[in-house]
Symmetry: C2
Subunit: 224 residues, 2 copies
DNA sequence: ATTCCGAATTCTGAATTCAGAGTTCAATAC
DNA sequence: GTATTGAACTCTGAATTCAGAATTCGGAAT
């Protein structure tokens, strides 16, 4: 029997709407946000908006501008590298742990190979179709799969703020460019190393992948 | 001229009070929290309490118990290792980056050696005095120094949720035991490697330190 | 004794209002 | 023209109230 999903709170819904608009660029850095206006636009009272703003503030996505509303935080180019450095550490850990689990259990590795393969195929389909939004989604899905495969339930959550920032940065770029095709080759290599049960190799590839992505993204942002 | 500090919001103050009580064990795992009661106890209206609870919930420190208030989240022993694994990755990164900076700039290393040395001395004094609370504080201060020395402004923030959890776990243990004295020797070794500008060695020592701490803490928690 | 159902209760989320913090603007003085 | 000051304005944080979700309890039926 399927669990009955309770309606998320208005606060949660407001948070999700605003967070998504920030991450996909509809609300660009510096965009001015006023609680009363957001409340009107979303058809709710100000209180859930206020609460959502507090959460978005805690997440670094918005900041106060001194009793004159809030603004979407700037996308600081220097922070691209900072976020990727942390992601590299976390992604490396995830890959290593997942590979260790595959080394110790063949059935686990087979299942992961299968699921990973699906995501890679979806990613490559999106590349063929030039569906950029889909590419980002499958990129995230691939990494999420590895976090979950690591056996550490905290990894996905730990990586989340960095993904959020980078999703914003990518969103900025992807109006003009695509994800490099080579990331899918890199994903495949990471998956292979994990499934083969090679922790050090998997970690190295994951870190390398992120550090390359950092360079690429930073270069693309500098051109704008 | 000294900056004038504005009073933190009531929400922030409520958050800080509750978070501190959770972290130092005054509010143990499972403690029942009701907004109205907290509001009375703290002499504020329910609204800032509600907001603080939303933030504490987002931070995983409290959880809902189904329209009957909230409770402090359980301290799950399995999570000690999970948190330390992530901390090891982050601390390793911090140490490596700090060491790289020391290798590239001697003045930076000298300054760090000085500051680090101070913290280590404070830690050792606390050990001699059997001042357990101070030991935890200086432990955190040491690591915070390394995060800042890394040059990545996001590292301290990234490590925060893990420190929160581990501070709670340590608080649980420290009613009965002390931090092992060897952690100060380990800290000194990490600092030496960083100041000497040896990134790989610094990273290794930092990771090793955390993995040992994980074992020690987990064993201590199992005995209770 | 166990199960079911409706009522009572507890508590939260949301709406509304009030107070006031901090910014902006307009008038005045130099 | 520039600087200063006080008033007006914008917006937030907090207090209060209302609505209702979800749990608990007690009584009735089996």
């Amino acid at each position: 029997m399927k669990l009955i999903q309770t309606q998320p709170s208005l606060t949660q819904q407001v948070y999700d709407v605003i967070a998504d608009e920030i991450c996909d660029g509809a609300l660009p850095a510096g965009a001015h946000l006023v609680q009363e206006q957001l409340a009107e636009r979303l058809g709710v009272s100000r209180q859930p908006v206020q609460q959502a703003m507090a959460l978005l503030k805690a997440d670094g996505m918005v900041e106060e501008i001194g009793r004159r509303g809030l603004q979407v935080t700037p996308l600081d180019l220097d922070f691209v590298r900072h976020h990727y450095d942390i992601r590299a550490a976390l992604d490396g850990l995830a890959a290593r742990m997942a590979a260790t689990r595959c080394r110790d259990g063949k059935a686990f590795g087979r299942k992961l190979a299968e699921r990973g393969g699906e995501v890679l195929r979806l990613g490559e389909t999106a590349v063929r179709n030039g569906a950029v939004g889909d590419q980002v989604r499958h990129d995230a899905a691939f990494h999420d799969l590895i976090y979950r495969a690591s056996g550490n339930p905290l990894l996905a959550r730990a990586a989340e703020p960095h993904w959020r920032f980078l999703r914003r940065a990518m969103g900025d770029v992807l109006r003009h460019a695509e994800l490099p095709r080579e990331i899918w080759r890199q994903h495949a290599e990471i998956l292979d190393a994990i499934v083969a049960g090679e922790p050090s190799r998997a970690e190295e590839l994951a870190i390398d992948h992120d550090l390359r992505a950092a360079k690429t993204l930073k270069a693309a942002l500098s051109e704008k």
